[in-house]
Structure formats: structure tokens, C-alpha cells
């Protein structure tokens, strides 16, 4: 397993370490529910350095990123980030990602588990674009996410950059805790928060982590692991590649039509996706919420559980959990489009018992 720059910090904090996408990552420190609530109510910090960062530069960089991703890169300007995805020619999802416009180059932030696949795909496409260079910077970039309603208060103590001036999906470059970094108003929790990218070789990494911990003491900041990251994103209905998306699923089925910009010009997968749009999708990602919350603790939906209606299987759960905020079970899954309308009652088969769920449009909680 590879280690992030904060591995020693995690073990010193007593984290439970698991293999995630080939990285030794903290799944929890004190407990998922505790860490989840800390982020929702105050502020928590995550090591997400396992995420990959790929820089694309050169004269035709914009044209190239436009061609390999779904969203419209023309909408970006320096200081702006965008959610996007890449597909194969057949429209199957390779990965979802963030695209940052860094001025003289673009930075694509990709999932750790897909890093090798993505980088080789991007390099292969770049070969037919002269004067585009692709640099995988993943190993040298540290990434800390500070998330929660108090995150701005905490981080403002460490920087002269006016954080309240950074809008959602925008970023500033500046010093924080004495280190040059990208301060990005993004996250995977649904909370007000920031993601901090910096060169891991610049300083003692623990010093940045510790500076944030120290600054956040009045707000009782604490570390949060991948377990809480998963329950937080699921309450918002945010998708996770490998669970809710894979190469056999198209962005149209995954509810990513809003980032699939057919009018922007040519891009990889466009023809297949247009044809699918024309024909209509057969299955669709949907949110599901348990009908009787009292049953929640005994009927937590898990990846792979069948979704049922009229005695037959109409879909499959791709992510599920007991929502710590709602104290009720929630899930995401693909279901037959005929059953996908909001408010429809279906069932999830939990170890052979059908438990009633209602089709719900995420997010499951309002922020």
C-alpha cells in the first residue's frame, strides 16, 4: 500500500487504517458517527491526498481537456473549478473528476483507485495532440479537506487570503499556515468547506496538519476518516466511482446529464451518448429512503442488495448506509426507469426480507 504524507499523523492519532484504492488510509479515528456529526455541526479535517492530480499544459491544453471531458471547459477561467467526467467512445464512465483552471494549465483531480487507468488513457489521447503535455503530480501533492460550518473561521486564522470572498467551486492561490497552496471552496460533504492542495515536499507535512488542528481548537476540530466521508457524501447523494459509477454505466444513467454538454463541440463518447439519449435510458440512478425509520438499524442497505417491486428484481443498491443525520436508512441504486419516479414505493431485500423504501430525489438532507 502507498502512504500519503500524513500516514504517521494518522497512526499517531490511533486511526484504523484500511486499503483504499491502493493507499493506506484512515477509515476512522474515534468513530464514524462522531466524526460525521463533527463535520455537520462544527468542523472536521480529512486527509484526501490519495486523490490523483494530473496537470495538462501546452498550447492546445484547453482544446484537449474539452475533448476528453464531458463538461464545457469554456466556462472555466483562472480561479474556477468544475465537476466533470471522462467516458470511453462507447459512453461508459472512466472516472469523475474536478477540472481546475490554473491560468497557464489545467489540473484534473481524479480518483485514487483509477489513477493508473486514467493517466494512461489521458496520455494515450494526448499522443494525437501535438504540444500538449500531461504530468501526473499525484505523488507530490498533499490534499487536506477542511469541512463544516466553522471551517472558514478556523482557516481564516492561518491566512491573509479573504476566505469569505471565495465562492463555491472557486479557488485562490495563496499562503496558508505559511505554505503556498491552492485554497479551493470545494468538498464532498455538502458542508461549507475548503480543500487545500500543496506540494508535499515544501514543508514538514505534519506542521500544516498540526497548524490547522491548533487553529481549530476553539471549535473542537477533529480528524475525520473515509467512513465519515462516505456517510457525508451519501446524505448529499454524491456519487462514488466504483460504487455508483463504473465503465458499464453511462453519465446519462448516473444522473450526470447536467455535466454532459452536447453543444460544446466534439468530445470522446459524444456519438454514443447522443444515440443513448435519443433511444432513452433503461435504468437510472435513484435515491431511496426507508419508509419506516424505526426499522433502520436492522435493515441497513448495502452495495449489491436487490431492489424489488411486484415480486421481481428491478434494480440493485450501489451505496447505502444508516444516515447519522436522519437516523434513517438511505441508499443509491440503479432501477428500471419504469419504477424510478419520485415518491414510488419499492423494497430493498435485506437478507431475504423485503423492507419498504421510497424513491427520493437526493440530497437526502438540505444544507
Amino acid at each position: 500500500m502507498e502512504k500519503t504524507p500524513f500516514y504517521d499523523v494518522h497512526t499517531a492519532l490511533g486511526a484504523k487504517i484500511v486499503d483504499f484504492g491502493g493507499y493506506a488510509m484512515p477509515v476512522q479515528y474515534t468513530g464514524i458517527i462522531d466524526e460525521h456529526n463533527r463535520v455537520r455541526n462544527r468542523v472536521g479535517m480529512f486527509d484526501v491526498s490519495h486523490m490523483g492530480e494530473v496537470e495538462v499544459s501546452g498550447e492546445r491544453a484547453k482544446e484537449f481537456v474539452q475533448y476528453i471531458t464531458l463538461n464545457d471547459v469554456n466556462k472555466l477561467y483562472e480561479g474556477r473549478a468544475q465537476y466533470s467526467a471522462m467516458t470511453y467512445d462507447d459512453g461508459g464512465l472512466i472516472d469523475d473528476l474536478l477540472v481546475y483552471h490554473l491560468g497557464d494549465k489545467y489540473m484534473l483531480v481524479i480518483n485514487a483507485a483509477n489513477r493508473d487507468k486514467d493517466v494512461s488513457w489521458i496520455e494515450k489521447q494526448a499522443a494525437s495532440f501535438d504540444s500538449v503535455s500531461v504530468n501526473d503530480k499525484s505523488d507530490s501533492i498533499a490534499l487536506i479537506a477542511v469541512q463544516g460550518p466553522k471551517s472558514g473561521d478556523v482557516l481564516q486564522r492561518l491566512t491573509d487570503v479573504d476566505l469569505s470572498g471565495i465562492k463555491f467551486y472557486h479557488f485562490e492561490s495563496g499562503k496558508l499556515a505559511g505554505i503556498d497552496m491552492i485554497i479551493s471552496r470545494t468538498g464532498y460533504t455538502g458542508e461549507y468547506g475548503f480543500e487545500l492542495y500543496y506540494h508535499a515536499t515544501q514543508a514538514d507535512n505534519a506542521s500544516v496538519w498540526n497548524a490547522i488542528q491548533e487553529a481549530g481548537k476553539p471549535e473542537d476540530i477533529g480528524p475525520a476518516g473515509l467512513g465519515a466521508r462516505d456517510t457525508l457524501r451519501l446524505e448529499m447523494g454524491l456519487l462514488l466511482y466504483g460504487n455508483d459509477m463504473n465503465e458499464q454505466i453511462s453519465p446519462l444513467e448516473a444522473g450526470l446529464g447536467w455535466i454532459t454538454k452536447f453543444d460544446k463541440g466534439d468530445f470522446i463518447g459524444k456519438d454514443a451518448l447522443l444515440a443513448l439519449k435519443e433511444k432513452g435510458i433503461q435504468r437510472k440512478i435513484t435515491g431511496l429512503k426507508i419508509v419506516d425509520a424505526k426499522l433502520s438499524r436492522r435493515a441497513i442497505p448495502r452495495k449489491g442488495y436487490p431492489i424489488m417491486a411486484n415480486g421481481k428484481q428491478i434494480g440493485e443498491v450501489t451505496s447505502g448506509t444508516l444516515s447519522p443525520t436522519l437516523q434513517a436508512c438511505i441508499a443509491m441504486g440503479y432501477i428500471d426507469r419504469d419504477f424510478a419516479e419520485e415518491g414510488r414505493e419499492v423494497a430493498i431485500s435485506v437478507r431475504g426480507n423485503n423492507v419498504a423504501y421510497v424513491v427520493t430525489k437526493p440530497p437526502f438532507i438540505r444544507r
Binding site: 484504523k16 477509515v27 476512522q28 468513530g31 464514524i32 458517527i33 462522531d34 467512513g227 462516505d230 456517510t231 438499524r297 436492522r298 441497513i300 448495502r302 448506509t321 444508516l322 447519522p324 437478507r351
Partner: protein
């Protein structure tokens, strides 16, 4: 991690406190730590009988779900109803408040083949 010397253990990470022909059963400190926040235990019916290694219940944690196995053969004579309201006791106090079921053993000699604290510690170290 704590593995009391006076208990017996299984490779499936259960502990047993033997009181004459009754085994008090729970899951180990290692097991609770691996599962994370436990939110529900589906207990076997009182009076039901199981053979050793049968699944007799389910442990739901936020992150995952696990089977509760019968570590010895016998009849379930009591379950820890208090865990319905406080399943977190299994995380906080796995060997006392977090006990799960009491089994009246039908074949007490099965206990001889269970692990002692030192052997279980070794098993966990290899996991």
C-alpha cells in the same frame, strides 16, 4: 487491545466466559474495532438451539454487517436486551456491558478446542 485472560476465544472473533455449563458470548475488542460503530444486533430467539459455527444472528455496523456465530453448540437461554437501546456498549465495553447471548452448552467439551487469550492474540496479529 485488550483480551482478558479468563476468557476463551474463537477465530471468528467471539469471546466466551464459561460459567459451569453456560457460555456467555460476545465479540472481542478486535472485532468491535474492525466493525466500527455498531448500531444493531439481531439476536437469536430465546430457546432456539444451534450447532457450533451456525450463524445465529447479525451485527449491523454503520460501515458493514457481520454474522454472529454460535461458538459452541447449545440452547440460547438469554440475550442482552439492553443492547437494543445501547448497541454502542459493544464498542465501549465489549467484555462486560457488551455481552450478547448466553448459551446452555449441549457439548461442553467443545470448549477445550477454543483459543486461550495468548493464542487468540497470535491469531489477531496474523490477521
Amino acid at each position: 487491545m485488550n483480551f482478558p485472560d479468563d476468557l476463551k476465544y474463537t477465530k471468528e472473533h467471539e469471546w466466551l466466559r464459561i460459567e459451569n455449563d453456560v457460555a456467555v458470548v460476545g465479540i472481542t475488542d478486535y472485532a468491535q474495532s474492525e466493525l466500527g460503530d455498531i448500531v444493531f444486533i439481531e439476536f437469536p430467539e430465546k430457546g432456539s438451539s444451534y450447532s457450533q459455527n451456525d450463524s445465529m444472528g447479525t451485527i449491523e455496523a454503520v460501515k458493514t454487517v457481520a454474522d454472529l456465530y454460535a461458538p459452541v453448540s447449545g440452547e440460547v437461554i438469554e440475550v442482552n436486551d439492553e443492547l437494543a437501546d445501547t448497541p454502542e456498549s459493544v464498542n465501549q465495553d465489549p467484555y462486560e456491558k457488551g455481552w450478547m447471548v448466553k448459551i446452555k452448552m449441549s457439548n461442553p467439551s467443545e470448549v477445550d478446542a477454543l483459543l486461550d487469550s495468548a493464542a487468540y492474540k497470535e491469531h489477531v496479529a496474523e490477521a
